[in-house]
Amino acid sequence: MAVESKLRPHDILRLLQQGRRGELLSSQSIWLCLTCETCTARCPNECDPARIIDALREIAWNEGLADPPRKIEAFHRSFLNQIRRSGRIFEFGLVAGYKMRSGALFSDVLSVPGMLSRGKLALAPVRITRIKEIRRIFDTCLESAPHDSSSPEDSGADTHETDGKGTVHPASATIEEESSGNGRQGSPPLDGASNNGERRNS
């Protein structure tokens, strides 16, 4: 992902050494890291940029300085909400939450018909038995984070609200997701929240 990022791992470490906190925490580059760990594996000075980038993201997220590309933020929030809600990822619900948050309402992100015909989509979420333990883990972990103004669960969950951040920043617009090139109709936004029947999928 380095070719798509303004700041590459060694740039990030340099800014860190220079104490340019604000610049780092509000950069989009830290959100384009996929944690492929190549930088950490190959650093000649045995630095661990992958861990450092994780730490920067966490600080930025907690302090409300995070400025990730909208779709990436939407994905993280939807993903964590799914875990908090059910203990597991229910992909239909994940996609629904993601679409609402990202505004990518009509992109055929998972090709629902193709997935269904191959038996690849579960139709109802499975909630684990001791979901309270997962809620407790979330609450404790988010509590210990300072200035928690943007914790994932208070952003409207997977309901019909879109989140407030609608700005798309120029740096993220350089490579656009191809959302309409395949001639398929976009599937309607699904509402994971309305479909809470507990069923085991096989």
Partner: protein
């Protein structure tokens, strides 16, 4: 051989053929899998990218459940789940401060004795058994073994023979009679978790991988990760739309390759659930050698 089994979310849905093939294959190898009761998601990228403690506590709970349910080792076929479970175990062992915080979050005792196995590690240790139980040697098939990121790095977690020049997956593939090809992109990233949120990056990264495997003369590409599979298989159509070379490349899970060699049928292994047709592979499968070891009484371990 009894092993705890952590399927993770993908194996219950979009990668159910991975689960089907893992279960069929381990059954044929005499490995008994026991799904960990009440497991929860490992948190994947989103947890560790936004809250370090959460990224450790979620898999730590699974490790605690595994120990409570009497497992000494846990198989996590998904490379991301494997990586997160192994990372949690590693951190809990080396950092008492994190361990205390995790104990407080999960309300469960810290368990770090459960060994976390990737599918590659499990099969590497069973190479001899695979060779012995192979009834349909995959002779003539040229396979590009793809490790990606999470099976290979960071090296203190992954148990690979070499972080830059691994051969574990190739060794397993050789045991089935297939021939691994030499190629360059086996440790590159496919775009992983950006499948939904930044598809253009996935297309760019995965295309390079597919092209290199094709150039090396591979008949198929072998993966051990549901995200890699989805990016290389499901997105292959989108990739081909722009690439020069539209030749398709079947993407198989390592468990499907081993399963085929052990005599399991393509349907039992879920080969029909792929987006890229696997006909090129299944149409040239040799007949099963009937006479071989129907009565193996010995347990593996």
């Amino acid at each position: 051989m009894r092993v705890g089994y952590f399927p993770g979310c993908s194996l219950h849905a979009t990668s159910r053929e991975y689960a089907e093939s893992v279960l069929a294959m381990t059954g044929a190898l005499g490995v008994e899998l026991f799904e960990i009761e009440d497991w929860a998601c490992c948190g994947a990228t989103s947890a560790h990218a936004t809250n370090h403690l959460l990224g450790v506590a979620l898999p730590a709970r699974t490790l605690a459940l595994a120990a409570e349910q009497g497992h000494e080792q846990v198989l996590a076929p998904c490379a991301a789940c494997f990586n997160r479970l192994a990372a949690a175990r590693h951190e809990l062992r080396k950092d008492p401060k994190i361990a205390r915080a995790v104990e407080n979050a999960t309300g469960r005792p810290i368990q770090t004795n459960v060994n976390v196995l990737s599918i590659v590690k499990l099969l590497q240790d069973l190479k001899a058994t695979i060779r012995e139980k192979t009834v349909r040697p995959l002779k003539g098939l040229k396979a590009a073994c793809y490790y990606g990121c999470l099976l290979a790095r960071p090296k203190e977690l992954t148990d690979l023979d070499d972080v830059e020049m691994p051969s574990s997956m190739e060794d397993v593939v050789k045991a089935t009679g297939a021939t691994p090809v030499a190629w360059n992109r086996r440790l590159d990233c496919c775009g992983g978790g950006f499948s939904l949120s930044r598809t253009s990056s996935v297309v760019r990264l995965s295309r390079t991988i597919l092209e290199d495997a094709r150039d090396a003369g591979a008949d198929l590409l072998v993966v051990a990760c549901p995200m890699c599979h989805s990016n290389l298989d499901f997105r292959q159509k989108a990739i081909a739309k722009r690439a020069e070379d539209p030749t398709t490349l079947p993407i198989l899970f390592l468990s499907q390759v081993v399963g085929l060699a052990l005599g399991e049928g393509p349907l039992e292994l879920g080969l029909d659930r792929h987006f890229v047709t696997t006909e090129k592979i299944t149409s040239c499968l040799p007949e099963i050698e009937e006479q071989k070891n129907v009565t193996t009484g010995e347990a593996d371990q």
